[in-house]
Subunit: 570 residues, 2 copies
Amino acid sequence: PYKVPLDPQGLLQLSWNVSYPEQVVHFQLLVRDLRFGLLFGMSDRGEFENADLAVLWSDGHNSYFGDAWSDAKGQLHMDSQQDYQLLGARKAPEGLYLLFRRAFSTCDPKDYLIEDGTVHLIYGILEKPVHSLQAINISAIHRGLQRVQLLKPNITIPELPSDMKTMEITAPNIVIPSQETTYWCYMAELPAGFSKHHIIMYEPVITVGNEALVHHMEVFQCAAKFDSFPHYNGPCDSKMKPDRLNYCRHVLAAWAMGAQAFYYPEEAGLAFGGPGSSRYLRLEVHYHNPLVFKGRHDSSGIRLYFTATLRRYDAGIMELGLVYTPVMAIPPGEDAFILTGYCTDKCTQLALPAAGIRIFASQLHTHLAGRKVVTVLSRDGRERQVVNADGHYSPHFQEIRMLKELVAVYPGDELITTCTYNTEDRSRATVGGFGILEEMCVNYVHYYPQTQLELCKSAVDPGYLHRYFNLVNRFNDEEVCTCPQVSVPQQFFSVPWNAFNRDVLKSLYGFAPISMHCNKSSAVRFPGEWEKQPLPTITERLREPVPHCPPAPGPRPSAPVPLNLGELRR
Amino acid sequence: PYKVPLDPQGLLQLSWNVSYPEQVVHFQLLVRDLRFGLLFGMSDRGEFENADLAVLWSDGHNSYFGDAWSDAKGQLHMDSQQDYQLLGARKAPEGLYLLFRRAFSTCDPKDYLIEDGTVHLIYGILEKPVHSLQAINISAIHRGLQRVQLLKPNITIPELPSDMKTMEITAPNIVIPSQETTYWCYMAELPAGFSKHHIIMYEPVITVGNEALVHHMEVFQCAAKFDSFPHYNGPCDSKMKPDRLNYCRHVLAAWAMGAQAFYYPEEAGLAFGGPGSSRYLRLEVHYHNPLVFKGRHDSSGIRLYFTATLRRYDAGIMELGLVYTPVMAIPPGEDAFILTGYCTDKCTQLALPAAGIRIFASQLHTHLAGRKVVTVLSRDGRERQVVNADGHYSPHFQEIRMLKELVAVYPGDELITTCTYNTEDRSRATVGGFGILEEMCVNYVHYYPQTQLELCKSAVDPGYLHRYFNLVNRFNDEEVCTCPQVSVPQQFFSVPWNAFNRDVLKSLYGFAPISMHCNKSSAVRFPGEWEKQPLPTITERLREPVPHCPPAPGPRPSAPVPLNLGELRR
């Protein structure tokens, strides 16, 4: 049921399905132009070293299939336990179909553990015959990566009403620019007098042939405070783009490669139209065109399904995580620095209805240094449930994900969002902020019924950060002055990042009180004292799930499986 | 070849041998008075929860053997993989012999990993018939623990010279006090005019019947600066003990339960006798008498083997780790706080001969909070070799251990000693020092050829610690003053131990420069600048050895093995 092209030419087409009872993924790989074999696999972030691979290779006469792994140098080895299990191989006019299965967890330490969230799939095409697995030089082959959410939630599709209508917000037959990356902006407009409706579902509309180029798409609603917006159609980073388009930021729909139709739960819909909401919509399409195709026309976009028969609840979107402020910063040269944003019991106590809210979807967001994001629900100091977690998060793959099950949040609950960053390639501190080289730590949660709480985020108390800068000045023998008269980013940039100053910053963030943003709409706080709030205390952590290793399903030869594919052409 | 009584009555006698090629331990357990079964096993620190157990149980008619584990509540469960493999059971006049084997590592996560260093063996005696493993209530049975070094090094015994003589330093038929713990002190004296000899071996002499009571013994040589010492014979903590005995601290021999004869390497011996050394020796015997036997006579001690034909090298003892100073402290309530002592490249460069020294034995030492000790050799910033490691270290079991192989240390090498402490039961900071409630982190390494370097230890620079106390004063909102006019212990006792102050102390110890003690004999430093020295930098750590899981040796039923022992008497 799920499908994604692996390479930008669409030569490799992956389909898969997930069996939760069996904890197994079935893969079907369509290879349109088989040469002398291919590699398919998974790795932490899409690298070809330390990867877990299924390999089909041919010496020109005979073909073999095996479960392999690559070491830190990229050298391939046969796995001692064969966990990519070949189920079949079939030649058809359109290409070769390979069918295989893989358990989520194999308990082989060389194997990748398939978890919720992003999975980095990698592929490689063998263009010459090879005599053995060990003879494959993975640095010399045509290869690439594709990010997908492999473990799609198993959700029953709600019944759709008979009065449902559709509307397509699509690009008007544009020419995709012949460059690797384009963000295209197109403005659409709802009909005059369009009354309040509920969006209850949406799905991608992709121009046939461009499946491998359309990377992700979003539809935003513009701000109601402006009566009109210009009808722009062009690259989002063009100098010609009117500034006012920056006021079109309220997400109505978001799709990314590999995602499918998005259904609202049957008791809720996303309101649009009617008084107090803008008629203007902005479509943004990210084209990823690494092979720099020229003259490709495209009319892709999103099809909204909506109804005038309003459902019981309006859906809402709430922002969890960190406030966009430079007081939250990451030292340079860190491989996994952690920042945490809190939505405290005090805020949920005040802002949520007694019956609670239900979170049904989540979109994680950081800028370029983000590597992992997780939000955990805590009640009475005890972690109860993961709201959404992505241990292989990529800022290049931000989709709205349905949760496997609704998460109920009640007054007094705490929502703790933790982001892990990598700044190994940076030479100065990365501070929080809006810039692409600044960082964010956000989880946009989609929930119902809608409340006034739009934003429940935190940042460290600035007074304690000031004490930190004082300490840095006093503690180091070097002549440094992270002086208070300069800005917080400037103070961070002057810290000498020795082990002590790094450690103490971590300790500060884990200890100092926080400033809470418990806001109605942008910048309007709920009444109350929100400064110097204590950090939530956690007395009981969620336990890491112990990977469950399925009993060996039938024989697993540790030798390659010969395939009868006939001679492969050179 | 190795033997130890498990219980203080000597009802359970364990013998074992170790096969390094097979990575297996063979156990033989002699049960003198079998009732309805017994438990034997291993756990992290001798607890009966989360333990790995071999169980023999009887319902009164039939007997069974199985590999089991206990959960965090002490409930027993059958292991899914049977790794204690029964090899035989044999009734003899003296009792039942059980023979079984166990691989060092089984890769069953419920199993204990047998490593170098201390192993906490546990035993329990079933005094009533039980119908199943699950029916055993381990909190209600007669049980206990015994510490041993299970993985004895596999050393070839050096040839002994024909002119070898022996001397017994033994207690003079004393009556063991009827109390749980006694340290007995007895003074002995070398003959007048006794010339320089080499001790080349020593072994325990234990009065028959007292094998389970004699816990450990040491022979110390007294300081040469006093011409004579009183002939004391009595408890070491007695008010009657002359103070001068405190000057008898140079270790000549040390033995602990389960240890065997100690052999010096054939090219070295420990010098004693001759000019410049005291003729007075102090024997210290620790009697462990938990059943409070009365009127037991004892003449246990140590038999020294020595020769007048001096070997090529004098052996020496060097002290590595931390200086005995309160600047190194452990906050209260820590489950695993780490302190590290350094022997720097600068000191070894100055003090060691170009050909290096060879370490052949090691005695780890902490006070009551110590839980792990390890010394690692680092060269050019890269960790090369573990000198000695004990991951289950107990301050109640300090023996001199032969190393599996000689460790060569050259000028410029670094020796890094790390101790892990548990202070969960303490309410104030534990500072470094001589007191039993203060802490030490020491590795006495035995090596040859003897050099002038007696002590190569470190402590944090006191100026940096002073900055830490200042920081604590400034950073905390509470009114605290860890004021410089009071002593360092007093300053530590006034620190409010919140998460920040704990973290920053750790960061300080991991960052601040050190004061090196690179000493000839007590308190005489080698010439040079030893204050505010940089911490050694480590660019490459030793990798944790990956437990090697042996292939299943023959069938391993996961059901209990029935034994034919006949009916057991009530």
